[in-house]
């Protein structure tokens, strides 16, 4: 069962998926979703979450959580790279404005020109 008691689980251990949950998740994901797409999204999420129920959702403690680097030798601080800014020509250093500017919609007087974020052109 899921941990949130306001969402009673199904037999498979997953919460019921309905149009409102899909709309809420889409809002959290900042994804516009058309009303006509919702039934299929409900169906797909149900199927995938039923598959995921193989994990034994809600059972056991979370104390054994995973860390990708566990058990591996981590890099000693002494071997970290120096905290200095990269110079031009080095990876991560300042780059040719013309190259960077090729990804911007416009380039004027040494600055990117982009549309206003909200309102106007």
């Amino acid at each position: 069962m899921v941990t949130d008691e306001s969402h009673p689980g199904t037999d498979s251990g997953r919460p019921p998926i309905d149009a409102e949950l899909v709309r809420k998740t889409a809002r959290l994901a900042r994804l516009e979703i058309d009303e006509s797409e919702i039934p299929q999204m409900v169906e797909h999420m149900e199927k995938i979450l039923d598959l995921v129920a193989d994990l034994g959702i809600g059972s056991g403690s979370q104390s054994d959580s995973f860390s990708e680097t566990e058990g591996e030798s981590t890099l000693p601080v002494s071997e970290w790279r120096e905290d200095v800014a990269a110079t031009e020509g080095q990876p991560g250093g300042p780059r040719d404005p013309k190259v960077l500017g090729s990804n911007a919609p416009d380039w004027r007087d040494g600055a990117f020109v982009t549309p206003r974020v909200v309102g106007g052109d």
């Binding site: 994901a29 979450l49 193989d54 994990l55 959702i57 990876p91």
Partner: protein
């Protein structure tokens, strides 16, 4: 030797990268002649397959000319001198675009090479093009790219696998070059198996991820797709090692260098869920290993049944987080709006394809308040169990073997509308990613329809080169991998 171009004699079409270098050394053809012919292959077969989406003729020919000049003047040569290679569309290169096969990043030009590409070029390898893939590397059939589908070179009505489908189709249809892919849940090994190529997913952290468009950061690795394991060995040795610009990268010193004598056959990889011809082929390869002097014992990985579910939660959670940056303002295509929230949601709706949106939705759900502990927390717990079981098994044997895919390459369109049918492709590959261990897939013959079958071997963290030695010894015993598909090389 095959056809002539200009005045030189070109290598045979199925030649490996190492053989191509030996050929160039003899002076039978120049690097410019070699690269010119390879570019022609990309323009014809590569385009027809949908595998080559960008062909970098000018920069490749300029690099080839420089290589010929170096060779003629007796200057030091790189250990991949003159060898053509392609990079998957999610790997940054300073020429061409790096759009991760997504409309969201349409036209995006990286200003620098990824570390892997930079290291390969520094050793004389020549970037000739960018290969197609599933959008943001999410898929197992290469049907979700905004550049269109890729066709399997062995049967063009079938998928090449994914997400590195373009790289695999190129590696499976013609020799000479090597191809960079990325593997988050099997995206190098499964397409390699479907196309008759060799594919290597290195230990997590072995190859720098700097310049790789992130999907699931704790799972992603760049790796090679090649004709054979010797080429993969060489390419990996150039790319690998600590990169100051990727804090998660590491240099590995293997604890052992002896050959892998004791092999564990994963019994869960031979259940009835696996196609009979693939099971049969696995048994035949086991017999071959025994004849070669290996000891093969059956090993059970009970957590394999949970691996795909665990992967779907972790990969989608990380994807939803990584892809949050594509908001239409800082990064990605923008749909103008009077309202900020609407600008975000419309830009993301328009920029991402259906499969990516579905994964973002699932990832957002499993991370959302009320569900995160039950789903993401639980999956992390199961991930630890998977890793512990894998490492415990690898204490008893040198390597674990099983098929790559439970079934043969399927027809284009056959599974695309059912996400579960597509996710089933990953059931045997995701375990290596979840445990972070290296895995190599090699072609092991064909089924009755003439479609390639691939098997994989996994090893302990850092055992990448020992695995490739094992793969090489198998390929030395059976050279059926050398064959090219009918029409593929013409």
């Amino acid at each position: 030797m095959s056809e002539s171009a200009d005045s030189g004699v070109l290598p045979a079409p199925e030649s490996t990268s190492l053989e191509v270098m030996a050929h160039l050394k003899t002076g039978k053809c120049t690097t410019v002649e070699l690269i010119r012919h390879y570019l022609k292959y990309l323009e014809t077969i590569g385009r027809d397959l949908g595998a080559a989406v960008e062909i970098l003729s000018d920069s490749a020919l300029a690099a080839a000319q420089e290589s010929d000049t170096r060779r003629a003047s007796g200057k030091p040569l790189g250990c991949l001198e003159g060898v053509p290679f392609t990079a998957k569309m999610n790997i940054a290169t300073r020429e061409g675009t790096t759009d991760a096969a997504s409309g969201m990043l349409r036209g995006f030009a990286a200003s620098e090479d990824s570390t892997a590409v930079a290291r390969l070029r520094a050793e004389g390898a020549i970037l000739v093009g960018k290969s197609n893939c599933d959008e943001f590397a999410m898929g197992a059939s290469n049907e979700s790219s905004h550049h269109g589908v890729v066709h399997n070179p062995w049967d063009r009505d079938r998928v090449p696998g994914g997400s590195s489908g373009g790289a695999a189709a190129l590696a499976g249809s013609f020799g000479w070059a090597f191809h960079l892919g990325s593997d988050t849940g099997g995206s190098i090994r499964q397409p390699a198996a479907f196309c008759g190529a060799t594919g290597m997913k290195p230990t997590w952290g072995r190859v720098s991820r700097r310049g790789l468009v992130a999907f699931g950061s704790s799972l992603d690795q760049i790796g090679p797709l090649t004709r054979d394991a010797r080429d993969a060995q060489l390419v990996l040795s150039v790319m690998e090692g600590r990169d100051p610009l990727d804090a998660t990268s590491q240099s590995f010193n293997p604890s052992e260098t002896s050959s892998m004598k004791r092999i564990g056959l994963v019994s869960e990889g031979l259940t009835e869920a696996i196609a009979p011809e693939i099971r049969q082929r696995t048994v035949e390869v086991v017999e071959r290993l025994k004849k070669m002097g290996h000891e093969v014992v059956e090993v059970s990985l009970g957590t394999l049944s949970k691996a795909n579910a665990c992967y779907q939660v972790i990969a989608t959670a990380e994807a939803s987080s990584n892809l949050a940056r594509f908001d239409g303002i800082h990064t990605g295509q923008r749909v103008q709006s009077e309202d900020l929230e609407e600008l975000y949601s419309k830009s993301r709706r328009q920029g991402f394809g259906a499969e990516v949106r579905r994964r973002i939705m699932l990832g957002t759900f499993v991370l959302s308040s009320g569900y995160i502990d039950a789903y993401y927390g639980k999956a992390q717990q199961v991930r630890r169990e998977i890793r512990q079981e894998m490492l415990s098994a690898l204490d008893k044997v040198d390597s674990l073997m099983m098929p790559v895919s439970p079934f043969a390459p399927f027809r284009i369109g056959e599974r695309v509308s059912d996400p579960l049918a597509l996710y089933a492709c990953d059931i045997l590959t995701v375990t290596a990613n979840l445990a972070g261990v290296p895995a190599v897939a090699i072609p092991c013959g064909f089924d009755s329809e003439g479609l390639p079958i691939g098997l994989q071997w996994m090893g302990k963290h850092g055992d990448d080169h020992r695995l490739l030695d094992l793969a090489t010894s198998l390929q030395d015993q059976d050279d059926s991998w050398r064959g090219l598909p009918p029409g593929g090389s013409q």
